[in-house]
Each structure stands twice: as structure tokens, then as C-alpha cells.
């Protein structure tokens, strides 16, 4: 039996292009990726969309391998990547927009970019782009979480759409540029810095970049806003330095106990929308106690992205996060 798609054909290689690995639909203008645009509206790595009618699939071991590559890739480019996880409606995107604008004032030189995960629409990426930060929307179709291959592809597209590597390291990968031939914004950086280079990720080879290697702090921040879901994204490593769980006070203080895996996997819990506390029966101390029950080491920051209260603590945390030793 064919092991690519399970059909009866035992041929060495499928001649039928329908059996090629599922490729995402690419928005040529923005670089947004839609992994659920095929017949089954799901992403099935290594399988054709035609057979994907039966299942949604991912491979954890394979995912972790690619996540490790992502991690090395981020490190090589001086990027600190944070995986933002929460239920829908916790205020992730509002927090991100407020964060980007605040970081611009604090650290005008810091490159910040965003990968936005949602089942459908590019609303969130549009909101991020309105702040001036580069963003790539990843639509998962029916998928309930981002996986490492999606992030790998989105990160590559950020290169050619003015993302962290392009801004911070002043280079872009020629091998990613072909799909964006019509996108003039992709080639806005200085010509002398644009070069094709041999790139070996994940094998400890030094990069043949013509800029100085990164010492000390990372030079850019990458926020990966996961699909709003407090269950599934906990299991998928994307190559991030840390998961940040966002819980809003409108959701109930028992969430950390109801969805323990996510809070166990997170390094930091942000308690958002604290400006609404006077109107709610939300016991902050109890919520923190519950979070520490499932993760004794979890850090907690209370803030309101809307009023700005507590934002300084979060921005300080992000400054620390730029130090690679912070996550050691």
C-alpha cells in the first residue's frame, strides 16, 4: 500500500500531484498562510488534501524535531519567541497591540513581529499590522492548534515581509523570496546587506552571515499568538522560549484547575482585564493559588491591556526575556 496516502498504489513515487504534501494557500500580498484551504479544510502534513477528508493529523515526534529546528533558527537570528496561549476572548490581540506600541516607545530599535494563529480570517494579523509591526496570519482551517511546521513556514515568510530577521539581521533568504516576486515591501532593506548564503540549521555550523554574530541579548521579539484554545496547544512545542498563558478575569478563577495542562506548560500567567475587577466576583488570590497548584514555579503578572495598569511589569519581563540566560 502507498504509505503517502494509503491508496492501493504501491509505486515508488506518486506521479499524481494530488499526492504531494499539502501546501498552504499563500496570500501573495501579505504572506498569510492558510493551511485549511484544501478540500477537507484541515492540515495533514505529508498527506494530500484529497485523503484528508477522514482525519486531522499531526505527528508529535516529528513536530518536536521541527520545533527544535525552529528553536535553533530563532537563536541564530537573535529572536526570542514567545508562544501566547489562552482561551478565545482573553484579550491576547489587544494585549499584543498595546505591547507593541509600548515597546516602540521604550525600545524604538527593538524589532517585534507576530505570527497570528486562528482557524479563519486575518482580522488579528490586520490589527497587528495596523501598529506597524510585521505579522503573518496562519489559518489552521479546522485545526485546533498551531504546530511547529506551520511556525517554521510562517517565520520564513516573515523574512521576506520585513520580520525580525530582516529587520534585525539585515538579510533575507533568497530561497524564500520566489513566492513574493510581486511584493515590493519584501525587498526594502539595504541592498548591500541582501545576500544569498548557505544556511545550515540545527547542526551547530556557524552561519556565513556578513554581520557580527549575536552576543548577549536577543535583538528581536517574536510573538506567536496561538489558536484560542486552552487544551490542545499545550502539547505542541513550536520552538518557543516560553509559553505565556493569558487568563482574563472575566473567565473565572478556577480555569487553572480546569485546564491544568496549559498552566503547567506555561512559564508565565498573565491575568488580563484587571480593570474589570470592580464589576466581577473574581478572587485574584484564589486564582493565583490554583495556578501555583498546577505549576509551583509559574510567574504571574496582573495587568489591563486597556487601561495600561500593570503593563510595566510585563514590559520588564519581556526585557528580561531578551536575555538568553533568562530561560536557561
Amino acid at each position: 500500500m502507498c504509505v503517502i496516502c494509503g491508496c492501493a498504489d504501491s509505486g515508488e513515487k506518486h506521479p499524481d500531484p494530488a499526492h504531494a504534501p499539502a501546501a498552504p494557500q499563500v496570500n501573495a500580498q501579505t504572506g498569510d498562510l492558510h493551511f485549511g484551504a484544501g478540500a477537507a479544510r484541515v492540515s495533514v502534513p505529508g498527506m494530500s488534501q484529497a485523503r484528508a477528508i477522514k482525519l486531522e493529523t499531526d505527528i508529535l515526534g516529528e513536530n518536536n524535531r521541527i520545533a527544535a529546528q525552529n528553536r535553533q533558527h530563532f537563536h541564530a537570528h537573535g529572536v526570542t519567541a514567545l508562544n501566547l496561549v489562552s482561551s478565545p476572548g482573553s484579550g491576547k490581540t489587544t494585549l499584543l497591540c498595546a505591547t507593541i506600541l509600548a515597546l516602540k516607545r521604550r525600545h524604538p530599535a527593538l524589532a517585534v513581529s507576530v505570527i497570528e494563529g486562528d482557524q479563519q480570517t486575518s482580522f488579528d494579523a490586520d490589527r497587528i499590522r495596523a501598529t506597524g509591526a510585521p505579522a503573518i496570519q496562519v489559518n489552521t482551517g479546522k485545526g485546533c492548534h498551531l504546530d511547529a511546521p506551520m511556525v517554521a513556514e510562517a517565520f520564513a515568510r516573515l523574512h521576506t515581509h520585513g520580520g525580525p530577521a530582516a529587520d534585525a539581521a539585515h538579510h533575507h533568504h533568497d530561497d524564500h523570496a520566489s513566492a513574493e516576486a510581486d511584493d515590493s515591501t519584501a525587498h526594502s532593506h539595504d541592498a548591500p546587506h541582501t545576500h544569498g548564503h548557505e544556511h545550515e540549521h540545527g547542526h551547530g555550523h556557524p552561519h556565513s552571515h556578513d554581520h557580527a554574530p549575536h552576543h548577549g541579548d536577543a535583538t528581536s521579539l517574536l510573538f506567536i499568538e496561538n489558536v484560542g484554545n486552552l487544551v490542545c496547544p499545550a502539547a505542541w512545542d513550536l520552538g518557543e522560549a516560553a509559553k505565556v498563558a493569558i487568563l482574563s478575569v472575566t473567565e473565572g478563577e478556577d480555569k487553572p484547575l480546569k485546564y491544568p495542562d496549559m498552566f503547567a506548560a506555561a512559564r508565565l500567567m498573565i491575568l488580563n482585564k484587571t480593570d474589570l475587577l470592580p464589576h466581577l466576583q473574581f478572587d485574584v488570590a484564589r486564582c493565583i493559588e490554583f495556578a501555583r497548584r498546577v505549576n509551583p514555579a509559574i510567574e504571574i503578572i496582573q495587568l489591563s491591556a486597556t487601561s495600561g495598569a500593570g503593563m510595566d511589569a510585563w514590559l520588564n519581563w519581556l526585557e528580561h526575556a531578551l536575555d538568553p540566560d533568562f530561560f536557561a
Partner: protein
């Protein structure tokens, strides 16, 4: 719902192995799914049975090992059972527990046939 994704990953592992080891049918597939692996066993079994028809897993018997959740209590320093996250140390009542076992999620072994 991510159990469907995991089942697909398991099938991929088995099919890769079928290509290498040259077998056509799996009669028994044994999986290890720890108590703290963030996986609902019944959902995973349902997902595997749903994707099996037409694959090497069709008709395969599924066996699950479920290693119990285990933790080190950071207060009394004892190794204690942790059936689910957020439960207290059975010795001292502390919640400062660090999971040390029960997070496994892997294919252990299988019985295969060439027919």
C-alpha cells in the same frame, strides 16, 4: 480534540515502519499514554479506530499502558502519586509538586504480519 492529530502521528510512525520493515498488517499495537500526557485515552482509541480502515492498522488490536502520574514533593521531598495535576501531596498536603512520571506518550511495540 487533538487526539485525532495524535492518532495521525501514530499512523505515520507505523506506516514509516511498514516501509522500512516491509510488513503489511499490524495485529497488535501497544501504546504508552501517561496519566499526565494531556491525552484522553478513549478519544485516542476512537481516533485510531476511525483512521485505521484502509491502512496497515485496519483490524489492529490496540493495547494501552497508562503509566501513573508521579511527582516529587518540593516540600517533603518524597515521591508521591499525582493522578491529575492540581492534587495535593498525600504526605504533607503541599501543592508544590513537580511531575516526574506519567507524561509518556509513545508507541511501544507491535505485532505485524506480511499477509
Amino acid at each position: 480534540m487533538h487526539e485525532i492529530s495524535l492518532a495521525g502521528g501514530i499512523l505515520k510512525l507505523v506506516e514509516d515502519s511498514a516501509l522500512k520493515e516491509n510488513f503489511r498488517r499490524v495485529s497488535l499495537l501497544r501504546l504508552e499514554v501517561g496519566q499526565l500526557a494531556n491525552v484522553e485515552l478513549r478519544a485516542l482509541q476512537f481516533a485510531l479506530e476511525a483512521i485505521a480502515p484502509g491502512t496497515v492498522l485496519e483490524g489492529a488490536h490496540l493495547a494501552f499502558d497508562e503509566p501513573p502520574g508521579q511527582a516529587l514533593c518540593l516540600d517533603c521531598r518524597q515521591t508521591v502519586p499525582l493522578p491529575e495535576r492540581g492534587t495535593a501531596c498525600i504526605h504533607c498536603g503541599s501543592y508544590r509538586l513537580q511531575a516526574t512520571g506519567g507524561t509518556e506518550l509513545r508507541v511501544v511495540d507491535m505485532l505485524v504480519a506480511d499477509d
